[in-house]
């Protein structure tokens, strides 16, 4: 019987959740088998971790070992005609687009960071800004391969019951080792992006709802500090694929994609320091106001942006989460049915004001109903919020999170495990199970 490796600190991306766990980092299928055998012989059940981009406790294990899957990251095959790529579960979306964009393909669904693994994306059934048109990533996965019982690889095709049991199952007993994903053929690597200002919550939701058929990508950046008649005001960003035109660059290279990422004239380390000084403070109020005001002044502006620059805002400032040490931060994403959304989000905003804990960054999206039984998305809207955890706000923040739980329970809403830092998913499940 081989011993477990020495324990290490394993953190969720929000840095609030942490576990002390032995970590295996298999670089091959055989090494993975060996790691699982070691876990089994020690009587411990491992948790599988991708790149650790879930904000909360999804990829930590307070009760035992963690198996980090990023070593299984080879592209195993690609069918140009169908666009189906078969790759190791540890391959990140970042590695994938860098590989696929020169071939004219782009992942059908991407998260706000490119540093998530395919396996993690499937286990969380992640969504992107095109949630209405494209659903969640599970909709585009042709098959997954599981290492069943630590020995044999079993391929599970889309549409089977076993497949339904894998997608969105963040506590899979057996690891996903390979994913076949149908990529999207793109004419160019650019999007036409339109930004408009929505003066209040009703306008925000109506704007997103109205744009969902004509635009592939639909997202709102909400200023949670606004109150009264401006409650829920947002900057809406909608985008469609930029068509190929004669004589224009097509943007199908990594260099062209990355060239569009601007953080302005301020160097990244200075921005990071600025974030550290302001992240937990009321200064974010002015940042939010400034963003809204700029969009008002700019009018209905249309710009061309690379897919990477539009999709991966979270990657503009690498290591930004470190600015939130020592307390870390938590995310909370409320998924609410369409007809309940306006009242529920109004309450969610009011609650923040009442408790004196206001999210410094808030994102609203339109979703279609999830097709998987472990799904979280529904025909409606989501509001993603983030809050730094400090000594002063701790009691109010957890009370706020529990009030959000109750709000979701009362309106038939859902919580999302990739963002869950305070056990809301489990609490909601328990409350619904008991009801």
């Amino acid at each position: 019987m081989s011993a477990l490796p020495p324990p290490e600190r394993v953190e969720g991306f929000g840095l609030y959740n942490v576990s002390v766990s032995p970590v295996f980092r298999p670089g091959s299928l055989d090494a993975l088998r060996e790691a699982l055998a070691t876990c089994a012989s020690n009587g411990s059940k491992p948790v599988f971790r991708g790149a650790g981009r879930s904000y909360g406790d999804a990829s930590t294990n307070p009760a035992g070992p963690v198996v980090e899957m990023t070593g299984l990251n080879a592209v195993a095959g690609f069918d140009e005609a169908s666009g189906i790529v078969r790759a190791g579960a540890g391959l990140t979306l970042g590695d994938l687009w860098k590989w696929s964009i020169p071939r004219g393909f782009w992942p059908p669904v991407v998260t706000g960071t490119m540093h998530v693994t395919l396996g993690g994306a499937v286990a969380m059934n992640v969504h992107g800004k095109n949630g209405w048109k494209k659903g969640t990533i599970g909709d585009h996965v042709e098959s997954v391969s599981i290492l069943r019982d630590g020995c044999r690889v079993e391929e599970i095709a889309h549409g089977t019951r076993a497949f339904d049991d894998v997608v969105g199952n963040w506590r899979l007993p057996d690891p996903i080792v390979e994913v076949s994903l149908k990529l999207k053929k793109v004419a160019t690597g650019y999007l036409d992006v339109e930004a408009t200002a929505a003066p209040n919550l009703a306008a925000t939701l109506a704007g997103l709802d109205g744009a969902k058929e004509d635009w592939d990508y639909v997202v709102g950046w909400m200023d949670c500090w606004a109150s009264g008649r401006s409650l829920g005001r947002s900057v809406l960003h909608v985008a469609n694929e930029h068509p190929a035109k004669e004589g224009e660059p097509r943007g199908l290279s990594v260099e062209e994609q990355v060239a569009d990422i601007h953080t302005g004239p301020v160097p990244a380390p200075v921005l990071l320091l600025g974030l550290k000084l302001t992240a937990a403070g009321p200064q974010m109020r002015f940042v939010n106001f400034g963003k809204y005001a700029a969009s008002l002044l700019g009018g209905r502006a249309r710009t061309r942006q690379s897919l990477v620059a539009y999709s991966f805002l979270l990657d503009y400032l690498p290591g930004w989460n470190e600015a939130y040490r020592p307390g870390g931060f938590i995310q909370y994403q409320l998924f609410v049915p369409r007809d309940a959304a306006e009242a529920a989000f109004e309450r969610a905003l009011d609650l923040q004001h009442e408790m004196g804990v206001v999210s410094s960054l808030a994102v609203v999206k339109r979703h279609r109903a999830d097709r998987f039984s472990r799904g979280y998305a529904l025909d409606g809207f989501s509001l993603a919020l983030d809050f730094p955890v400090t000594r002063k706000n701790a009691s109010r923040l957890i009370a706020l999170a529990r009030a959000f739980d109750a709000l979701l329970l009362s309106c038939g809403g859902r919580a999302y495990k990739a963002k869950d830092c305070v056990g809301s998913v489990e609490r909601l499940a328990a409350a619904r199970g008991a009801a």
Binding site: V20, D57, S395
Partner: protein, 247 residues
């Protein structure tokens, strides 16, 4: 948002501390010997403080073989741990002149040896986690040996010194270690004892302790005036203690 594990919290000061943390909405995991008391307390706290996440782990600290599994169980149900507080303690009264070796040994076992075992496990966990806080409810009684209860004094002296060592060991890893010397607290332990003064009600003592732990104070008493007395105690000449009776 803190996640707190309390050892010995089904009674007295520990119970009051559990209430304070539950009231703040935190994660509270209680280790206690009696399953019935533990279950009743957990149910009570869950009912009164629905925002909090309250769990119990049955653990008799005198059962050495149970400590490591109980520690890991506590971490698993708490998710992670920001504060691990050792509060278990016994004080056997006596006639003040006769040693009862079996009871003295039990005092050392619960107040010191089990503390060393559990806090050692916690120290290893926190060192790797690179953050958080360990605390022990020690006592001003550990500052000097007194005629009334030498074993109790010795057990608390051992706990205080062990905590001091852990503090120095863990400082480079960003972990705080706090030694609490409450002074007299109105609990079953002190009930009916003569000659007490500056007695803090358990709920008030718990609130003060929680606040000062939050501020990461390292060695403190509940009422600050105890610090003066503590200073005097530590420096008083030996002959004085020969004339002083219990406690």
């Amino acid at each position: 948002m803190k996640r707190v594990i309390l050892v010995g919290a089904t009674d007295g000061l520990g119970k009051a501390l559990a209430e304070v943390y539950a009231e703040r909405g935190f994660w509270v995991t209680i280790l206690g010997r009696s399953r019935e008391k533990l279950e009743a307390l957990v149910a009570d706290l869950r009912g009164r403080f629905p925002v909090a996440t309250v769990n119990g782990v049955v653990c008799d600290v005198a059962d050495a073989a149970r400590l490591e599994p109980a520690f890991h169980e506590a971490i698993a149900v708490t998710g992670h741990c920001d504060l691990f507080l050792y509060n278990a303690g016994v004080m056997h009264g006596g006639d003040g002149v006769t040693s009862v070796p079996a009871l003295d040994a039990e005092t050392m076992e619960v107040n010191a040896v089990a503390a060393v075992r559990l806090l050692g496990l916690a120290a290893n966990w926190f060192r790797v986690a690179g953050r958080g806080q360990i605390g022990g409810i020690s006592s001003i009684a550990g500052d000097r040996g007194r005629s009334g209860n030498p074993a109790y004094n010795a057990s608390k002296a051992a706990l205080s010194t062990f905590l001091e060592g852990l503090r120095n060991r863990l400082a480079p890893f960003g972990v705080t270690v706090s030694t609490v010397k409450p002074g007299f607290v109105g609990t079953r332990m002190t009930a009916g004892k003569p000659g007490l003064f500056w007695v803090a009600p358990a709920a008030e003592a718990a609130r003060i302790i929680a606040d000062r732990l939050e501020k990461r104070h390292e060695v403190f008493y509940v009422y600050r005036r105890w610090a003066l007395l503590g200073l005097a105690m530590r420096h008083a000449p030996r002959f004085l203690f020969k004339r002083l009776g219990p406690p």
